[in-house]
Point group: C2
Chain length 255, copies 2
């Protein structure tokens, strides 16, 4: 296989879904990938990588891992690399890796746990930040409902800084989510800019917290299934940034 062609192709969501592959770009993301349980299919580098010590170290680590695990590391020209890169100033390293198979069967069913539900969140920077926050604050699972940006989009992967290489994040339909919540007796809260302050509700031991689209909020269908619609007490502005609001909710409601 031509890694360059594959990497270029994987910029499209449809190709990622078909091939069950994604691209992690940049020194930091590839470092995280290398120490994660995810399966690396191949790596592309370009000469600028080895001009910085951290890049040169990563190159050596990649060569070792490639020999052990049997994937290819191929060096291409800067121009070729740029044709596959998603960043404006590429650091000269990207890895193609397998999207892990994840589903509700793999979710923990601890007596107390938290789930994050992304209901149509569209900005990849926000979603990357939210995955990083969810992992940091002990959320067990993040579920992305239809209308949410692809979790394996290059910008999401970069923004998450490796969080979802380990954090159990995956796409699901609303029906599958609702079935899982019912089966495991997990409460569903919807967050909005105008609901009741969340402090007025007793906090369930098992709780899924849904956050919605940057403009429209949580969908009416999800709202119907939520046992509470909660908000943060804010003044002066219409709303908080969705990633900031999510961070506050996850911190306040952490187990």
């Amino acid at each position: 296989v031509n890694l360059l062609t594959v990497a270029r192709d994987l910029r499209r969501r449809r190709a990622r879904e078909r091939e069950h592959l994604f691209v992690a770009e940049g020194v930091r993301a590839v470092e995280e990938l290398l120490t994660s349980p995810l399966s690396i299919q191949g790596v592309l580098t370009s000469p600028p990588l080895e001009t910085v010590p951290r890049g040169a170290a990563l190159r050596r680590a990649l060569d070792e891992a490639a020999a052990e695990r049997g994937f290819a590391v191929r060096t291409v020209s800067e121009a070729e690399f740029r044709s596959a890169a998603e960043t404006e100033s590429p650091q000269g390293v990207l890895a193609i890796a397998g999207i892990p198979e994840r589903s509700f069967e793999k979710c923990e069913t601890d007596p107390r746990h938290r789930m994050l539900v992304l209901d149509g969140v569209q900005d990849p920077g926000n979603v990357g930040t939210m995955l990083r926050t969810a992992a940091a604050l002990g959320v067990a699972t993040t579920v992305a409902l239809p209308g949410t940006v692809d979790l394996w989009n290059a910008k999401v992967v970069r923004g998450a800084m490796g969080a979802h290489f380990r954090h159990l994040a995956f796409h699901s339909t609303l029906d599958a989510l609702l079935a899982h919540l019912e089966q495991h007796d997990i409460a569903l809260w919807a967050t909005t800019a105008s609901g009741a302050p969340f402090e007025t509700f007793a906090v369930p031991d098992r709780l899924a917290i849904a956050v919605g689209n940057e403009g429209a909020g949580v969908s009416p269908t999800l709202l119907q299934h939520a046992s509470a619609t909660v908000s943060l007490p804010i003044r002066h502005v219409e709303s908080l940034n969705v990633a900031v609001a999510t961070g506050i909710f996850l911190y306040e409601l952490r187990v």
Copy 2:
């Protein structure tokens, strides 16, 4: 004056500082500006603005305000507008307004209050989000220290969604900040990824919370003057996004 030339010039920080003017671009930002106490110097529009109902309504409101307050509204071609715009898909409206004169003399000295200190935060999206969060969570003042992106940068203004048209946010030196804190008996906390959990400290009635650069954190000089170095309890990842961490601190420590 040629508004187009002025708007183009104001894309440079130096020009904004010299002229004490900034640009608010887009329907939402100009709507917020129009209802704020800030002084509008002139408005540029292009034909696409009036193709959407909200844009057409804004145009009418601008014409009324222009007649009352005596500023110019000038319509230019799409190409000309684009030459001054900072967004990739301009909505066809930008306003030039005066940067308000703000300083520590205008800060409130309530028995209990919160201040946010930005110590070298460089991403304009993060700073815009943080100003919006600070305003929403009742922070009295946000102070930007040297090394922080210009608060009146177009991306910061857009990200803040009008927050700093009212929220008392301004640039200051560290010396001026420290003098103000001492004079008004305001404690200074520095936030880091590796300090003690903030819950282990008694929370002062008057508190300034400093957050640092995305990579390097709070500066060593500021750290020396902080009475506590505090962090959030996180796992699995190195750090939270600075805007998310700031949101959690400001929420937890709100008065």
